[in-house]
Structures are given as structure tokens and as C-alpha cells.
């Protein structure tokens, strides 16, 4: 018999009280220190939906209009309720749960259930598990109450009690008998009716006959009695892990400058990276979607050369992209997504040359990409092209170190290398009897001492050939390139690679042998 199957099932419930308030505080941490309320809509007549504890103590209650609330407490901060923020907070809560257990069920806004089976080996006793869960939820910017019990309903009620509450196996009935009725979240009329009958705890309710109770109080009361008698809702329904991590924020007014947008993006990136870090992932390419004034949309994908969770580097990449092509109008809403990547695991070999640690290398690549631009960092390779100067860049991923080859005998010669000039610099070449004699350009002005060549290279004419239908000659001339390459030693001491573009009859220098 499998001992695991014999052990009783344990379920944890993560509960974030006043979830819309918690979601707003997660996006704007400064709200934690002030009295604030969430309004349903905008304007002075909009009713308040949720009220923070500080605002409640100042006399504000849900249902007041914004104008009434301001009259009672002039210092009150009123923020419109933002469904996008709540969705992002719900996803973050799920991420925190999934970083802890593989079987997670979304129980609605601010509520998540986890299966704790088999996790005691990792985290120890249930007290430790509850503490660790609370810590992980805190990492994504929220405070959660934790309840652990044998089933979802009891775990939820345990979480409703506040703090971390663990109901030992077999003691559920005892706990349920103690639970006050207001924790069930019943309708106010039903709760008032129970109170008139002197029923304040679930234990009082369990002593009544279920059939009589159902006929007088409705099906809800019967469900409560079934719960007390040990009938549960069912097993957990596992949630698939998210592939794209996203944060969205809707702004109260349109932003037109990049600097304030940068502040908003920084906060979003910090929250995204915290979620990724919890899941043991790193941010790959970023997708930025901006909703602009006039129902326009600006979507862009920002390439990240090396996946990383370093906020500063990622923010610099986004800012560089925005500066290159700024949004044409004010921004009303921002959605930022990150493609999650798995960090490259590697282990160094004792007898091989040292190599950069993968984690540090990724961070360094991201920082270099932010400094130089993602297209200027990586591994530069010769492109499969007829142009000798063509190159292509790929992401830097050095292969695992192999045993070094046996030492070769040192030679008395080495290979000469070209220094590329990008882009090729146009020069004026003076010729005598068809042979170049003098070269003059922005940085070069010298007589030709020796010359080799020319070597003709042409190609890529087929790329534009299909577009042109004016005959073969036009087809060949319409696209591609045709260059005559020379190697010229000038009397300034340099040996240059110079080519003549046969189509435009212009001369260019594209490299120096050095």
C-alpha cells in the first residue's frame, strides 16, 4: 500500500481580504499609508465600492458618493476601481501559489486553493508552509491569510478567521462548531434572521433538523448543515501554468511624455519580475501594448538579447525602443507582457577552463544590450551572402567547454585580419589609364602605392528580378549588387579594401587590413 495515499489530503487556502483594495495598493504602494476608497466609475456622483481601514475609521462607508465622502473626510484619496489591476493581482496570487504547489485552483477574486500533498518533505511542518506561503504572497505585493485543513471549505473558513490558521486532521467538526456565522458571508437578511433566533455559531445550527431548516431558511442553510456534517464541494481543479506573464494598468489621464511613462513601466516591470522570480523563470522578449487617445493602439515587441529579471536593464530597453519611435498620441492604458524563459542551467567542470556563470552571463548580456542596443550585442557571424561584408548577429550562447586540444607548434606567421568600416565610406578615386592612382575621402587622402585586383562580385539580382518585367538587361540592373574589389596600399601606410559599385560608378572603402 502506498503510504502517500493513506495520508489525509491537506488543502491550503490563500485569501486576500478586500481584494480590489489590495490590488490597488499593489500597483500604488503609497496608498498603504493614506485613507483611500475605490469608486465605481468617475465623477463626484460615483458611489464608493470599497473603503480602506483608515478611511473606515474616518467615517467613510461603502455606498457613499465621492462628493459625500469628500465632505466627511477632505483628505480621502479616491481612486477609480481598475479591473485590469485586479486581474494582474489575481494572476500574481496564482503565481505565488504555483511557485509553492503544482496543483492550484483559482477560487475567485483573491482566493486560491493549493494541494499540499507531498510538500512536507520540502517545507517541513504545516506551520512552516503557511509562513512560506505568506512570504511568497508578500513578494508579489499583497498580504494573504492562510488556512490549512482537510478540504477547501474548511480551509477557506480557517483563512477567514485571519492570520495563519491550521485545522488538524480530524478536528474539522470541532472547528466548524466554533465558527461564527458572520464568517460565512451570508446575505444580511439571513444573517439577521439567524441572529434573532439566537444562532451565532455553526455549532448552534448543526443541532437543528436539516429538513426543517431548509423549508424555512432555504437551500443555503441546507448547504451549511451539509458542510458541518462533512460533505465537501469536491476535489481541486488544477490550473494550467501561464506562458505569458502580463501586467496592465489603465491611467486616469493620458500621458504624453516618456518620463512619467517610464515611472509606470518601472513599477509594472518590478511586479512582473517578482512574479517570474517566484516561478524560477526569467523575462525573455517583452510585448508592450499602449492604448492611445482616440481608440488607437500601439503594439510593439522588444527583443531581449539575454533573458533576465534585472528591472533596470529591461526598462532601458523599453525606453530605448520608445525613444526610437515614440507613441504618436497620449497613452491611456499600458499592458506589458513578458515571455517567460527558463534560466540556463550549467555546471562548471573542474578540469576545464572557467566560463561565465550562466545567471551572471544572462544579466551581463541584458545590461550590455541596454547599454549598446540589442542588435549590437551577441555573436557576430559571417552571413550566408555573396557580399563579403555581410554579417549576422545571433544571441551569445557559448557551447560547453570541451577538453582543450593538444598544443600546436607555434608558427612564424599568422593570418591577417580585416577591420571593417561600417557603413562603407564613399571616396573619390582618381585614375590614370584605368588604374586608380589617388584616393580621397573623409578620413583618407593618399596616393596609391600598390594595388591588387579587381575581383568582381555580383549577386542578389534575383531578389528584384521578379518585380521587373522590362527585359533581361533591366532585370539584372534593377536589383542586387555588382562590385569590383581592390586591395590598395596607400602611402599613408594603410592597406585598404576598396570597391567600385558598377551600377553607380562610385567608390567605397569598406575595410582596412590590420
Amino acid at each position: 500500500m502506498n503510504p502517500a495515499s493513506a495520508s489525509p489530503r491537506r488543502i491550503a487556502c490563500l485569501l486576500v481580504k478586500d481584494f480590489p483594495l489590495a490590488a490597488a495598493m499593489r500597483a500604488n504602494p503609497e496608498l498603504r499609508t493614506v485613507a483611500f476608497a475605490l469608486s465605481i466609475g468617475k465623477g463626484p456622483r460615483a458611489p464608493l465600492g470599497y473603503v480602506s481601514g483608515a478611511a473606515r475609521s474616518a467615517g467613510i462607508v461603502a455606498g457613499m458618493t465621492v462628493a459625500q465622502a469628500n465632505a466627511v473626510a477632505p483628505d480621502l484619496t479616491v481612486v477609480p476601481r481598475n479591473p485590469a489591476l485586479e486581474q494582474a493581482a489575481a494572476d500574481a496570487l496564482l503565481d505565488a501559489a504555483q511557485s509553492f504547489s503544482p496543483v492550484v485552483e483559482d477560487g475567485g477574486p483573491g482566493r486560491v486553493y493549493l494541494d499540499l500533498a507531498g510538500l512536507s518533505g520540502l517545507y517541513g511542518a504545516e506551520d512552516n508552509m503557511a509562513g512560506e506561503l505568506a512570504r511568497r504572497v508578500r513578494q508579489v505585493g499583497m498580504e494573504a491569510e492562510i488556512g490549512i485543513a482537510a478540504n477547501k471549505e474548511v480551509a477557506y473558513l480557517a483563512a477567514r478567521c485571519g492570520g495563519n490558521r491550521i485545522i488538524d486532521a480530524g478536528r474539522e467538526r470541532e472547528f466548524l462548531h466554533w465558527v461564527p456565522l458572520e464568517l460565512l458571508g451570508l446575505e444580511s437578511e439571513v444573517e439577521l434572521q439567524f441572529e434573532r433566533l439566537g444562532i451565532r455559531r455553526l455549532g448552534d445550527l448543526s443541532r437543528l433538523d436539516a429538513r426543517e431548516l431548509g423549508s424555512r431558511m432555504g437551500a443555503g442553510a441546507v448547504e451549511i448543515v451539509r458542510l458541518i456534517s462533512g460533505h465537501t464541494g469536491g476535489p481541486l481543479v488544477a490550473r494550467c501554468a501561464a506562458e505569458i506573464f502580463s501586467e496592465k494598468i489603465e491611467l486616469e489621464y493620458a500621458i504624453e511624455l516618456l518620463e512619467p511613462l517610464g515611472f509606470i513601466l518601472r513599477g509594472m516591470l518590478e511586479r512582473l519580475c517578482a512574479r517570474l522570480k517566484l516561478r524560477g523563470l526569467v523575462a525573455g522578449d517583452l510585448t508592450l501594448s499602449l492604448e492611445l487617445v482616440g481608440h488607437r493602439r500601439d503594439q510593439r515587441r522588444i527583443r531581449v538579447a539575454a533573458a533576465s529579471n534585472e528591472v533596470r536593464s529591461l526598462l532601458t530597453l523599453i525606453i530605448l525602443d520608445l525613444e526610437k519611435s515614440p507613441p504618436p498620441q497620449g497613452v491611456e492604458a499600458v499592458q506589458l507582457g513578458a515571455h517567460a524563459r527558463i534560466p540556463r542551467p550549467a555546471q562548471s567542470d573542474m578540469f576545464l577552463p572557467p566560463a561565465p556563470a550562466p545567471e551572471r552571463l544572462q544579466t551581463t548580456l541584458a545590461r550590455l544590450a541596454a547599454l549598446c542596443g540589442p542588435e549590437r550585442v551577441g555573436t557576430l557571424l559571417p552571413a550566408n551572402s555573396h557580399r563579403p561584408e555581410a554579417t549576422e548577429r545571433v544571441d551569445f550562447a557559448p557551447p560547453a567547454a570541451a577538453a582543450p586540444p593538444p598544443e600546436q607548434d607555434a608558427m612564424g606567421v599568422n593570418r591577417i585580419v580585416l577591420r571593417a568600416i561600417r557603413p562603407a565610406q564613399e571616396v573619390e578615386v582618381m585614375s590614370s589609364r584605368g588604374m586608380p592612382e589617388f584616393v580621397r575621402g573623409a578620413r583618407i587622402c593618399a596616393r596609391v602605392v600598390s594595388i591588387a585586383g579587381p575581383w568582381r562580385r555580383q549577386g542578389e539580382w534575383w531578389k528584384a528580378a521578379l518585380e521587373c518585367e522590362d527585359g533581361l538587361a533591366n532585370r539584372i540592373l534593377s536589383g542586387g549588387f555588382a562590385h569590383d574589389y581592390y586591395e590598395m596600399a596607400l602611402d599613408d601606410g594603410g592597406v585598404y579594401r576598396v570597391f567600385r559599385d558598377l551600377r553607380s560608378d562610385r567608390w567605397y572603402v569598406d575595410g582596412i587590413y590590420d
Binding site: 557576430l380 593570418r415 591577417i416 594595388i451 549577386g459
Partner: protein, 326 residues
């Protein structure tokens, strides 16, 4: 008995090739060797790890080729190298021909100017164009140094090449000192390639390169007149036929072979200085004739669509693809 065996084992392990003790990683005596014998002899083994070494010289003095020899040596031994490129001059084709394993080379080209910064200074310094231009230069140099520091901070790189391009002004002492300390901490060999010394007293050694001779095969003439014209290389004792150029036009039928380089050790904190070495940097290292080297060289590689003229079909020159054109 066991202790004696372990001591004997430790002694034998040290003799294995490629095995060294951990503490040797930080020893100043550890050097990065090249496959170039004259340089190894001149530098008493190679450039030191954890120190700054400079290769300075004018255009076409062979400094980039020598840097490529060091990168090749590092990557062939499984180490990872980084090239911080201020001039965006890294040419992967010729680097690969020089034996560099490009997959082990991290390349970062620092942009000439920084757009964010430029916009900020335009507002502040719009009154002075020249002041703005000067600070733009400083800004790209700052990015260049910052990129090098990032690589050194990451650690694990065997070699860091800092290519200054044509800009060879002396670094501020604070920057050079910072670079030297980071190199020492990381154990990375830092190789500075510049037109003139830039690190001052903080460079462990400074190697000055100069091109002594540029090797062009020029003394060629018609071997025999007639419908089949051949060229001869008069340097060879027994001239061999070479593919002919355009009929009657043999004036520039030359091949660039390479350069003769002389290196002088101008500064060396770890040993003697003032000595020189000389070697050849060639387009191809094969022992074949230059025209055959041109055929096999990747300069005009397999993808090249090179015009073959009439005599290219000649039996002696049938495989020679690169032809001299008018």
C-alpha cells in the same frame, strides 16, 4: 599508506596537460599564449592574465591580426572571450579564418552616441555646439568603459579585447586604475588595441607594432606571347604558368599577400623590454602559390560569382576562378 598514495597522486596530477591548481588562476605568471612563435618568445610566454596589455600601432600595423591570434588561442582552448568594439570594426569572416571560434566570442559594439543623453544635453548645452560635440565623445567612451567593466564583473572570461578603433586618447587615471583592478580581481587578460598607449602606467605591457613591408606580388610579366598568355612570378626559380589576365593588360595583375610586422616591447612591468620580434601576417598560410591561394581563400569564397573570362577555360588555368578584369 593512504596519505602516501594521495601525495603521490597529487604530484602526478600536476604533470597532466591542462591541469593546474586552483591558486594558479590568480597567479601573475599565468599567461595567454598564441600560436605565433616570435610573439611568445618576445612576451616570455604570452600576455599576463589579470593585467592590462596594450597593442598599439598605426593603421595596417597588424595590431588587429595580433589581437585575433590571442582570441584564437583563448577560444581554441575552450575559454570565452569578449570583444568590446568602439569602432564597430569586428569582421567575423577574417576572424574565423584566423582561427577564432566565433561561438565563444561575445561581441559588443558601443554606439557612437547615446540618443537619450544627446537629447538631454541639447536642451542644456544648445548654446555651445563644440562643447556638446566634445561631451558626446566622452559619453561613448564612458559607455565603452562601462561595457568592459560589465564583462569583467561577470567573471569567467579568459580574454577581454578593448578595441579603441582610431581613437587613442589617454584614459583618465581613475578609469585606467579601475579597469586594472577589475582585471586583477577577475583574472581576465585585458588586451587594449589602440593607435597609441591609452592606459599609461596601469598597463602591464605595451607592444608597439609597425608594418615593415606590404607584400604584393607585382613583378609579373607575360611568359610567352601568343594566343595563350601566361604570367610568371619571377621570384620563383622555375616559373609556373598562372592564369592570364585580360589580353594585353597585365599592369596590375598583382596579389596582396600580407604584411611584414615588427613588434617592439615598449613597456613591460613583468620582465625585460626594448626587444623586437618580426613575423608575417598573411592572407593565407598555405604553402601553395599565391594564385592558388587566391582560389582557395575565403576572400573570394565559394559563394562568389566571379566572372570567368575566355582563357579561364584553359587547361592550365581551368580551376582558377578569380580573373583580373579591366
Amino acid at each position: 599508506m593512504a596519505a602516501a598514495l594521495s601525495i603521490a597522486g597529487a604530484a602526478s596530477i600536476d604533470t597532466l596537460p591542462g591541469v593546474f591548481r586552483g591558486r594558479e588562476l590568480t597567479r601573475k605568471e599565468r599567461r595567454l599564449r598564441t600560436a605565433l612563435a616570435p610573439i611568445n618568445a618576445l612576451l616570455e610566454g604570452g600576455i599576463p592574465r589579470g593585467r592590462i596589455s596594450e597593442i598599439v600601432g598605426r593603421r595596417s600595423s597588424g595590431k588587429t591580426s595580433l589581437a585575433a591570434a590571442f582570441i584564437s588561442a583563448a577560444t581554441r582552448h575552450g575559454e570565452v572571450a569578449a570583444v568590446i568594439d568602439l569602432a564597430n570594426a569586428f569582421d567575423p569572416s577574417t576572424m574565423a579564418e584566423a582561427g577564432v571560434d566565433l561561438s565563444r566570442v561575445l561581441w559588443a559594439a558601443v554606439p557612437a552616441s547615446n540618443a537619450v543623453w544627446e537629447r538631454a544635453t541639447e536642451d542644456l548645452q544648445s548654446s555651445s555646439y563644440f562643447r556638446g560635440a566634445k561631451t558626446r565623445v566622452d559619453n561613448s567612451m564612458r559607455s565603452f568603459l562601462r561595457a568592459a567593466e560589465m564583462v569583467l564583473e561577470a567573471g569567467g572570461f579568459g580574454l577581454l579585447v578593448m578595441d579603441f578603433g582610431d581613437r587613442g586618447f589617454t584614459l583618465p587615471s581613475s578609469s585606467a586604475l579601475r579597469l586594472a583592478r577589475m582585471a586583477e580581481r577577475s583574472g581576465t587578460a585585458v588586451l587594449v588595441v589602440a593607435p597609441r598607449p591609452v592606459c599609461g602606467t596601469f598597463a602591464a605591457l605595451s607592444l608597439e607594432l609597425a608594418s615593415m613591408r606590404r607584400l604584393f606580388i607585382r613583378r609579373i610579366r607575360w611568359a610567352r606571347p601568343g594566343p595563350k598568355h601566361y604570367l610568371k612570378d619571377l621570384r620563383q626559380p622555375h616559373p609556373r604558368p598562372v592564369p592570364r589576365t585580360m589580353a594585353g593588360e597585365a599592369t596590375a595583375a598583382a596579389l596582396f599577400e600580407g604584411m611584414e610586422i615588427r613588434a617592439t616591447l615598449r613597456r613591460n612591468k613583468l620582465g625585460r623590454c626594448g626587444q623586437s620580434a618580426q613575423w608575417r601576417s598573411l592572407v593565407s598560410l598555405s604553402e601553395s602559390y599565391p594564385w592558388e591561394r587566391a582560389r582557395t581563400s575565403d576572400r573570394f569564397g565559394v559563394h562568389a560569382r566571379v566572372f570567368k573570362l575566355d582563357e579561364a577555360r584553359d587547361a592550365d588555368a581551368g580551376t582558377f576562378q578569380a580573373q583580373h578584369l579591366p
